[in-house]
Symmetry: C2
Subunit: 409 residues, 2 copies
């Protein structure tokens, strides 16, 4: 038991660091939200908001106003009904499970889900867990990796030819996690609508950062990550849908127990009964006014990101991948200069993230130097400059030290 004491001593090594991890920058809590959580004593107990629960499901709570909050979340994203979920992965699983059950029940649709080839792994895993077969829509490959609506059309055709039936679900990843490309979700939505195929947009990286309207996308399901892009603690996601679909997605339990006769009429199986009203949900409620406001400032953020891209490429030996002009804060650079340095450095590929950390900047994937992903979303300009300067300094230092003449300049 003595050995366990070390868990009580854990420190946060990166407490004051500038965070540039693209999975994190949209999830940083405003200072005011952090203060409220502490001041109001929400850290005291796991089931923080369940005191006034009358119906046995956190999404039905009137105090605090979770039910109203979920309505506001639904409307904010152009939908009609929202439920909070155990992460965006939980939201995706609820959709996949519902589609899988419908496909099985009807026999009319194949159990194929068509996804873009840049989707997040959780999309694939959710489909796997729901017993759906995943088929990919190609992308254009290096250096832009674009996904087009035409490629959805082609792939739907080939599935129809091969299997004699349409996919059970189309999935588009609003912004892909590899290159930060914005998918043509509205065009894909028209394809889905024309073919009458249910359509899910995974907005894990966008909802809460830039304007997202699922009805303009013609999406039936919008999946959202609060800890990725709604300035919230995790794990927390949202699933937003239409009133019609909500009746299937959020159908309450129809169990009646054989001996006791127990029923669980308010519980939603696809949400594991109730998705639990813990601190992540509270943080999302506190952060929501801030999130709604910052989405209106997205163009400013995008300008800042584009400035940063230009500055980075001027360093030399760094090149942005993905679409140009870039339309999201997730940036993926090819970095041949750092790759070259790593071949000479005793820390190999680890040197880059470590040099950054020494400069108070955390978020590059450790070990990678040939490609890097980062984001300066939400950072004040002086910190963005500091990040740019850090890359520049690191480059110059090692180009000099290892005499890498190709990269001088």
């Amino acid at each position: 038991m003595e050995g366990l004491k070390r868990y009580g001593q854990m420190i946060n090594k990166y407490k004051g660091h500038i965070i540039v991890s693209p999975i994190m920058t949209g999830g940083i809590l405003p200072g005011e939200v952090q203060r409220k959580i502490v001041e109001e004593g929400w850290l005291r107990v796991g089931y923080a908001i369940c005191h006034d629960c009358l119906e046995g499901r956190s999404s039905l709570l009137g105090r605090p106003p979770v039910r109203e909050f979920l309505k506001d979340v639904a409307h904010f994203f152009g939908g009609e009904v929202a439920e909070h979920t155990l992460g965006c992965r939980g939201a995706q699983f609820a959709v996949m499970k519902t589609i899988s059950d419908l496909a099985r029940a009807s026999g009319r649709r194949s159990g194929v889900v068509l996804v873009d080839s840049l989707c997040h792994y959780t999309t694939c895993i959710a489909a796997e867990m729901a017993g759906l077969r995943v088929v990919e829509v190609p992308n254009t490959g290096y250096p832009e990796y674009r996904v087009t609506a035409e490629d959805y059309v082609k792939r739907i055709e080939s599935i129809r030819e091969e299997e004699g039936i349409l996919p059970a679900l189309l999935v588009a990843t609003h912004v892909d996690p590899y290159h930060g490309n914005l998918s043509p979700v509205e065009e894909i939505g028209r394809v889905a609508e024309e073919d009458g195929i249910p359509y899910m947009v995974n907005a894990a990286y966008t909802a809460g950062v830039l304007p997202v309207n699922m009805s303009e996308m013609r999406a039936d399901f919008l999946t959202v990550s609060a800890h990725k892009s709604m300035a919230s603690l995790g794990p927390l996601g949202f699933l937003i849908t239409s009133r019609d679909w909500s009746e299937r997605l959020f159908k309450t339990s129809s169990l009646r127990m054989d001996w006791s006769g127990r029923e669980f009429g308010k519980k939603v199986p696809s949400l594991f009964g109730c998705s639990i009203g813990g601190l992540p949900l509270i943080s999302a409620m506190y952060a929501f006014p801030h999130v709604a406001e910052r989405v209106g400032r997205w163009e400013e953020e995008l300008e800042k990101t584009r400035w940063f891209i230009r500055e980075m490429e001027q360093i030399g030996g760094l090149k942005l991948l993905g679409e140009r002009p870039h339309r999201h804060h997730l940036l993926h650079f090819e970095t041949p200069v750092f790759w070259e340095i790593s071949k000479h450095h005793r820390r190999r590929g680890f040197f880059l993230a470590e040099e950054m950390i020494r400069r108070g900047i955390v978020g590059l994937q450790r070990g990678l130097s040939r490609h890097i992903k980062l984001s300066v979303y939400g950072l004040p300009m002086e910190e963005v400059r500091k990040v740019r300067d850090a890359f520049q300094e690191i480059k110059e230092k090692y180009v000099e030290r290892f005499d890498l003449t190709d990269y001088r300049g």
Copy 2:
């Protein structure tokens, strides 16, 4: 957008209240843990511990030492391998899904899961989601509601007779959420072992509160709720198992995407890929030394609970249901005196929880006055007395006011 501002102003009505909700008392965070979370800046970002993730799964993290922590959790509960999960419901679903897949693949076992008739609703919902049929083992009914190993034997027999096959899984709820009865988990484990049926114990209300050893129970799977009984923020659970079972339960994804060739070899489908390293996990790590220590003081807690039961029953018009002597802190009282008062009170059944809240005590289910559930686990004696006194005062006040002669004295 103006309307959203109210979410930024939410207050915690019960900030300083004594908490007696039996789903919460085992989940209250020690002050020291709350302090560490704030001091170390863990409230800043959703994916708080993912900076040093190399393998793409939070349970494999070396810094902070999540991998070691999970080993310690496994050993603490008498198991070999542990994963953290999206709540105890997530842990139960992972078990049910695995069992369901095995049953389907082998064709040797029926898809029936045999549960005690006092199991938590999440057990039933997890089975429903995994496509298993749930069958209940009876209990002895009023006033003790006991579940016996003999009744498991009988029910297994009847299933064998009716379906020609054994259940795919036995489930015992270590302490039931209705009356706080301790289930004969070791005897049931011998039954499971003799019949060769996989065996899951749901320890949501016990693991982290009283000594729990799954190998003594002969359990294959132990499911735990960190926010119910490990002094942690939610949602967070643990699934603990043997090395053998871990290979099936936590099998990594076997997907290979058709166009891109992508694979997700570190991701565990039954955990939705990765169960996310957020603040709940950090809180559980900080709380673990405290939890390990308090389990050693369980007998003291039980003495306190038994003292409280005696005091409550001396008030008159209150009677504990469930087993006697009681062996858990979850208490369910029949309260005819409060039921009688509610018939005269303008707030009807709501008067009781409201009177308690006025006295700074929160946690009774609003609206209920015929039966109440509560817990004084972890409260200092002066607060336990305060809770007792509150019930006494409320009783006397209204017996007097409404002249309820049957309850005088």
